[in-house]
Subunit: 310 residues, 2 copies
DNA sequence: TCCGGATGCTTGACTCAGTCAGAGATACTG
DNA sequence: CAGTATCTCTGACTGAGTCAAGCATCCGGA
């Protein structure tokens, strides 16, 4: 990923956008800017001229003239703004709403034609890519709900768990393929046989993208549940995803009638430590071991699901 | 993925591009169009005016004037085109090359600033997304090598195999989570213990993106290798990816000293059938079974690695 | 309460990127 | 060789967008 790549993309996408309104058919008899103003007006209940100016970064004089033109054509009405008499509030008339709808329709068709050129099974990838770019380049406008939701795994999610665990721990701690094998074994055991009342997997989604997971399974020790494979994507950390996942497991385990909830982790995963402590887990044992190509310090943690504190 | 989403992205990206050359600082003292002309000239040895016109879809008169301006400023030289005397060939002078470099530098800095606003560990995702969009929306200009390469698995790839197998077969044939478990088990066995001289996994990449995989492992039957988990992404089919993968396994198995190569598949996977036949496999048995939530017809295929024909 | 500076809108004057039409020169086609 | 298309250039024009000045109002401080 270099500056070159971004510039190549910019050139390319400028072309795409240019091709879309080839020959100004799209906005006739309005300008691109005029139609952007109409669009903004149609998509928000009511705006002041100043809002339009900042949103579309237009020259004040230019906007004023555009609104004049619209008013003469009977598309908008201007009145004093309630809050500040210097400002002018702009509202679409019925006629204006119709025109905006018309332009909208035309734009939708053109973009639809573009979209038709993409094979249907590819479109999700396109959407995902566009969303990613908006996300990463900081589109505050429509980042969506930004809400973390937990859900049951869907086909492929167990594989995703293996993939992300392996990739992340390889990148962050240099763990080797043994770890990937271990995770694959764990999800294989889970997929092949589990009682949904006693064992479960959660996927955390942020804006429709999987960003975390956790598993709760029966331990060999009776009446004991084991939390496994807790993972939160680096770029989604700090949003309480980990908290939500751990809480889900704790609640589920308590609900399911387990007495204890245990987990095994390694001391290098320091951020997880606080998470576990916050949920009432206590460190019960530490043991050095060599796994995944590294010398590690394994830790056993335990939470008494019905106890009154430690 | 709807037209809405595409339009939202277009609006957003228009803003991004707009923000990049805020106030024309970027191109001063030239216009965007002029600098595009300079860019084209700087990035190809030598062009005729007509080429510039078509590439940048400019008005002939407009371009002529731009070139006049450049010639007066000593940035370009015009001469008759070798092939066609009507045409004029345009070349940058040293001075022109310098100016182009300067503009380029400025653009690079601005884009660099934008890129700095993205966390380093996110940048690969951004690049991937941009490449995807260019790919899907058909950028012939720089689609890259479009070359399929096979490589060894990296951390996370085994998880990817599980994920894509599960997702694809769930989507295409409605197979349930049992299949995901089976695949996870297979890769777990492989990851935990395998002799690299006798067992191997290949990932097929197209333009840096994983689009296929296959595994070769020892069978219980002595001197027999088993091909497993052959997968090609739907959008990468028809590029010979499957062929490359099967060939890799056949060659490897023969090289490793196996006598036979076998595989198990199901008759619903009809496109794979031709692939196997093409590589000399013969169907040796068919047996109905119920797996993955479906009634299926399992097939055993075999290839004599040293035999002379069937 | 009043003053100075900032903000919001409007209008006049202007710039200059981009378009259109016509003309001269040359190529291609039959 | 006639007719038509292509390439380039120039003149004439359009109109999107900018800049500056002016008026009204808001806000923060003395």
């Amino acid at each position: 990923m270099t500056v070159q790549d971004v510039r190549a993309f910019n050139r390319f996408y400028t072309g795409v956008i240019g091709a879309l309104d080839y020959g100004r058919h799209l906005y006739a008899p309005y300008t691109l800017t005029e139609s952007r103003v109409l669009y903004e007006l149609a998509h928000s209940r009511q705006l002041d001229a100043a809002d339009l100016r900042t949103r579309l970064s237009l020259d004040a004089g230019y906007l004023s003239r555009i609104l004049n033109k619209f008013e003469e054509a009977g598309l908008v009405e201007r009145g004093p703004s309630a809050a500040d008499p210097r400002r002018r509030s702009v509202t679409l008339t019925t006629r204006g709403r119709e025109t905006a709808g018309l332009l909208d329709e035309r734009a939708r068709e053109t973009v639809g034609a573009l979209l038709d050129s993409v094979a249907p099974q590819e479109r999700p990838r396109l959407g995902e890519a566009m969303r990613t770019i908006r996300d990463l380049l900081g589109d505050e406008r429509a980042p969506g709900p930004r809400e973390v939701v937990l859900r049951a795994p869907r086909p492929g999610d167990l594989g995703w768990i293996v993939q992300r665990n392996a990739e992340l721990y390889a990148a962050e701690y240099g763990w080797n393929a043994d770890y990937e094998g271990l995770v694959a074994r764990i999800v294989a055991d889970f997929a092949e046989d589990h009682d949904p009342h006693l064992e479960r997997v959660w996927i955390a989604e942020l804006d429709g993208r999987a960003v975390g997971c956790v598993m709760c399974v029966r331990d060999e020790v009776p009446a004991t549940a084991r939390l496994r494979l807790l993972l939160v994507e680096p770029d989604a950390r700090g949003r309480g995803v980990g908290d939500r996942l751990v809480r889900a497991v704790v609640d589920f385990a308590r609900e399911a009638g387990y007495r204890d909830l245990v987990l095994w982790t390694n001391d290098v995963l320091s951020s997880a430590r606080h998470l576990y402590q916050r949920h009432g887990f206590g460190l019960v044992a530490e043991r050095p071991h060599r796994s995944f190509g590294k010398d590690l310090m394994g830790q056993d943690w335990r939470l008494d699901l019905h106890g009154s504190g430690v």
